[in-house]
Amino acid sequence: MDRRDGSVSAGGRGSDAWRRLIRDRAAMVGGWCTLALVLMALFAPAIAPYDPIKVNMRERLQGPTAKHLLGTDQFGRDILSRIVHGTRISLTVGLISVGIGLGVGTTLGLLAGFYRRLDYPITALMDVLLSFPQILLAIAIVAALGPGIFNAMIAVGIGAVPAFTRLTRSSVLSIREHDYVEAARALGASNPRIILRYVLPNCFSPLVILGTLSLATAILAAAILSFLGLGARPPMPEWGAMAAEGRGFIAQFPHIATFPSLAIFVVVLCFNLLGDGLRDALDPRLKE
């Protein structure tokens, strides 16, 4: 972007942020783990030693062995293979939910911040959405749409909208007062042009930070919905649903519920570390 207009420039601030990010060890751990997870999701069929949904009753309820590194479940399915395939589901769920939250939330936030007439109705709607604890809102939406992984994504995505709307709105409110916006308007730029070219790029860093942290929340929320029986259904190798299936065997075979739960833990931790690192790198003022 052109520096003369006073808005964010790709050079200076960006490379500073990048330098801060790669010096942050925790963020780098999160980043590399995320990369590993993405690769695992992409090449799941090649990595997983067995078919994730193939029932093999002769080998059911085994603890970790050389043949089944993470053991088998009550249907003799290889837990490692299910977890590897589950990476695809969890990352997809996270990306789609956050995509919905980001897309809808940012649009509403831009409109609310930029057009005074729309501010009150949008803010009021967000206040109503925020009056539901997020998981409860997701549950309400699943109640309406019916259980299932796709509806769970929509539900979690809608639950994420208010945070993005609020963030964008408050960024817009401060950005619109800047001289470069005034200047663009004086030069005859239309509102949509001002929003897309000047306002939106300047909301970029807080949105990236919130987006990354929301991935963690979204994956966790979707896993919870599946655990409750409101998201993915068996035999889909979704981690929350796998933990729910292991619930009945918790007394003697705690590994069935534990390994998928640990997988959720690792993914959520990665995105939390990466999100924290991005926040410190892109907006050092927020650092404690």
């Binding site: 549950i139 309400a140 109640a143 729910a244 939390n272």
Partner: protein, 313 residues
């Protein structure tokens, strides 16, 4: 102050109304005909039509909403499709159970998190600080259902200290308490990391203020500086988060109650969704949301009392 309180209370009314509209609309725009669900899949069309008239489903949506909300204001949330019991009664019983669980969880999480946060801040960069904050970061990423399942595995199956699930006797009885402990440990446990981290950063900020330096400069013992000057101011944001975390507690209660078969609002809602018992779904979600809005209101008011600088603008 009086004006602030009044305005803040009045502002809650549209939010609650909006919430009720949303809950009503979500379930009314949902695919599937409630009359068919009540009648069952094999019911003849005229029976379904009768039920539809009886439930008022043939009226315009606005009329239906008006009827719903005016009944709700009188405490009538309709009847469960499944049990035919009054939804208000089912919700009230469940509400009390959730309330007990949430309060117990809240108390124990505060008892653990605040001391950890304060000590971590006062002994900044010490082993304790680093260890507790790393643990907190790890804890933030743990799925709550796993904590619950592990609590059951360890304390119920391996050690046999507590029952696996259920409500037991009333809360004041030994049996009731024994049943409460594991769910409360789980639900409170999941809140500790965030609370400890927040307490730590809040105390750190307070310790950096001028008045703390002044207190130190006049020779006050460090313990008194922390307790009398820093803590008092540091706890203000903690109060907010304690209130806001009720969202997390209510959400977590859904999972905790499901794992431990605790007969609260969350379990009622999930069971009702899975059995498509719409009046119960509507009632539980509405009550939960209104409770949440009310708690937020109380938090704001407490905040205004604690910090006289706050004025409504």
């Amino acid at each position: 102050m009086g004006v602030y309180v009044l305005r803040r209370v009045l502002l809650t009314v549209p939010t609650i109304l909006g919430t009720s509209v949303l809950v009503f609309l979500i379930l009314h725009l949902a695919p599937g005909d409630p009359a068919m669900i009540v009648a069952g899949p094999t019911a003849p069309p005229d029976v379904v039509a009768n039920i539809r008239t009886h439930l008022g489903l043939d009226q315009p949506v606005l009329v239906q909403y008006w009827r719903y909300i005016s009944n709700a204001l009188r405490g009538d949330l309709g009847r469960s499709i499944l049990t035919r019991r009054s939804v208000s009664e089912e919700v009230a019983t469940a509400f009390l159970n959730t309330f007990e669980l949430v309060i117990a969880a809240r108390i124990w999480s505060l008892l653990v998190a605040i001391p950890i946060g304060v000590v971590a801040a006062v002994k900044r960069q010490s082993i304790f600080d680093k260890l507790s904050m790393v643990t907190a970061l790890l804890g933030l990423s743990l799925p709550i259902f796993w904590i619950g399942l592990m609590a059951i595995w360890l304390f119920a199956f391996q050690l046999g200290w507590f029952p696996i699930s259920g409500r037991g006797g009333p809360i004041w009885s030994a049996d009731g308490l024994r049943h409460l402990i594991l769910p409360a440990l789980t639900l409170g446990g999941i809140q500790i990391p965030a609370l400890a981290r927040l307490t730590r950063s809040s105390v750190l900020e307070a310790l950096g203020q001028d008045y703390v330096r002044t207190a130190r400069a006049k020779g006050l013992a460090e313990r008194l500086v922390v307790a009398k000057h820093a803590l008092k101011n540091a706890l203000l944001p903690v109060v907010t988060i304690v209130g806001l975390q009720f969202a997390g507690l209510l959400g977590g209660a859904v999972v905790t109650e499901t794992i431990f078969s605790w007969p609260g609002l969350g379990r009622l809602a999930v069971t009702a969704i899975l059995t498509r018992d719409f009046p119960v779904v509507q009632g539980t979600i509405l009550v939960a949301a209104v409770t949440f809005v009310t708690i937020n209101l109380l938090v704001d008011l407490v905040y205004a009392v604690l910090d006289p600088r706050i004025k409504y603008t």
